[in-house]
Symmetry: C2
């Protein structure tokens, strides 16, 4: 990622009054993360041979918005740890996390306003629509925790909203700032949706089959939160009635301790070959993404960086 974006995110501008509002924001932003959305925005811009530095403020806006959603999601999911550190609502308290999150969301608009004004009419509606969709995705994710009979189609719609649209929006903003034509900008958006869905599938996979230290958070959170992940929904779809009952009873039980619950569910997933099914689904969405990328009217060599990033995301274990 560009050194400037990291500098802006971690700038001392946050060290202002009131400290209890801005210190948690600085804490949330200094902890790094993949900075995937700024990276995608810069790459999208450079795809059209425009210097990526023009995306700086919009990239900061999207990254702050993303971290705002993590901050509020962590309250709602009662998550204690993110990126190997206590979450804001654990380190401070829920009220602080609510209000600092609110301020972050507004800050993201503040940075968006630093983009040259001729781009505002394209970028503002896209950003606002995306932000609203991310909220809708989070609501569906929470609704699904207590709902029965969630279909894979509903799952894919939920992760499209919760995860994919913000990646797609980042890419499209990059294209807009590079003065790409509308058709290419839309193709890049569709590329982002496919990439985002693959990204979330991998996230689902890692939450159960990853390594706590590399991930920066405990393994099995989705299982304990009764999340309707791709793993669980596929397991329900591919299992006979008896296994299906065992799955549902184990997930819903208050009498099985957390680590036992995670072990039992993980073993069922393995027995049903869910990791392989997940891998095949991932491949499907990566192919779809590649397909959109292939149709963008720039030279092949310009696409190498995005293709390499996809490869890196595919094999990631964090």
């Amino acid at each position: 990622m560009s050194k400037n974006i990291e500098e802006i995110l971690q700038s001392t501008d946050w060290e202002i009054e009131p400290v209890n509002l801005y210190k948690p924001i600085s804490y949330a932003l200094e902890s790094g993360g993949k900075r995937l959305r700024p990276m995608l925005m810069r790459m999208a811009c450079e795809l059209f041979e425009k210097n990526g530095s023009i995306v700086e403020n919009a990239a900061v806006a999207v990254e702050i918005f993303h971290n705002f959603t993590l901050l509020h999601d962590d309250i709602m999911d009662n998550s204690p740890v993110r990126r190997n550190r206590p979450t804001v609502h654990k380190k401070w308290n829920t009220n602080t996390a609510i209000l600092s999150g609110d301020a972050m969301m507004i800050k993201s608009y503040e940075f968006l306003q630093k983009v040259p004004q001729k781009y505002w009419t394209k970028i503002f509606p896209l950003f606002t629509q995306t932000a609203l969709q991310v909220c809708e995705g989070q609501q569906l994710d929470m609704d699904f925790e207590t709902a029965d009979n969630i279909s894979l189609a509903q799952y894919f719609e939920m992760i499209r909203l919760k995860t994919a649209v913000l990646l797609a929006c980042s890419l499209k903003i990059g294209a807009i700032l590079a003065d790409a034509d509308d058709k290419d900008a839309d193709l890049l958006y569709d590329f982002g949706i496919a990439l985002g869905i693959a990204f979330q599938l991998k996230d689902d996979y890692l939450d159960t089959f990853g390594d706590a230290k590399t991930l920066g958070k405990p393994i099995g959170g989705d299982i304990l939160n009764k999340k309707k992940t791709f793993l669980l929904l596929s397991a329900i779809k591919h299992s006979a009635d008896d296994i299906n009952n065992l799955l549902q009873i184990t997930i819903g039980s208050r009498f099985i301790n957390d680590s036992k619950k995670i072990t039992v569910i993980t073993n069922i997933f393995k027995k049903l070959d869910i990791p392989k099914i997940c891998e095949e689904e991932l491949e499907k969405y990566y192919s779809l993404a590649i397909n959109y990328l292939d149709n963008i009217s720039v030279e092949e060599k310009n696409k190498t960086e995005l293709k390499n990033l996809m490869q890196k995301l595919h094999i990631r274990n964090y």
Copy 2:
């Protein structure tokens, strides 16, 4: 207020999926309230003899933003009742209130984007800066609950941020949309700051000396929440050491029940003539507001509506 604004606020647009995200928003917006900010925006616009209907979308944006802050503030203050109905976090739950509030804030930008684009460069930065200041004010308000030695100057800065800037912003947006010149728009902003401070002083007064049914919420909430209101800070300033100690001990005590606490503190306020001191302070800010209004370069008769509204706000008991 314009019928259209009320219609937009209560429109069936909110009845969309996911229901658990949008139903609480509709609930929060249908409960009325004074709609003071939309009213001020329209009056500001009409002050310059432009038809007030142009402010509709911006007025809806500001009103949704205001209701978003109430929704999140009610979580933070653990308030059970607003406008004679359960607050969103009580009727649903905290997670719902957090996320629906987030969506409301984004919705306010969505409505702001419906304003003709030629006004965007003036209105967006003003709105965003104001929104951030409101968060800062809320943080200071919370910080003050556990802080000692808060001065009246600090109190006035807190209510300027928490309450006055949004009234001032509403007025200034009205002026901008009426194509008023910058000097007049700024005078109207300053008028709004003075009016907003008077408005909050009256709110402080009513929270202790008002009527629960007319107000739509229980009396004494500020006392129980240890809020550093104008009443309390003035009482501390005007009382001898023994009364001062009694005040601080009563407010901080865990062993005095709520209704007793409210009675004791209210009686001390009365004995110290705080209602009168509050009234004098109110007069001061109303005069200041009138002064700014007098300097705006439009015909006197155009100012009647705003002056009447001020009078109504002054004598209100809700």
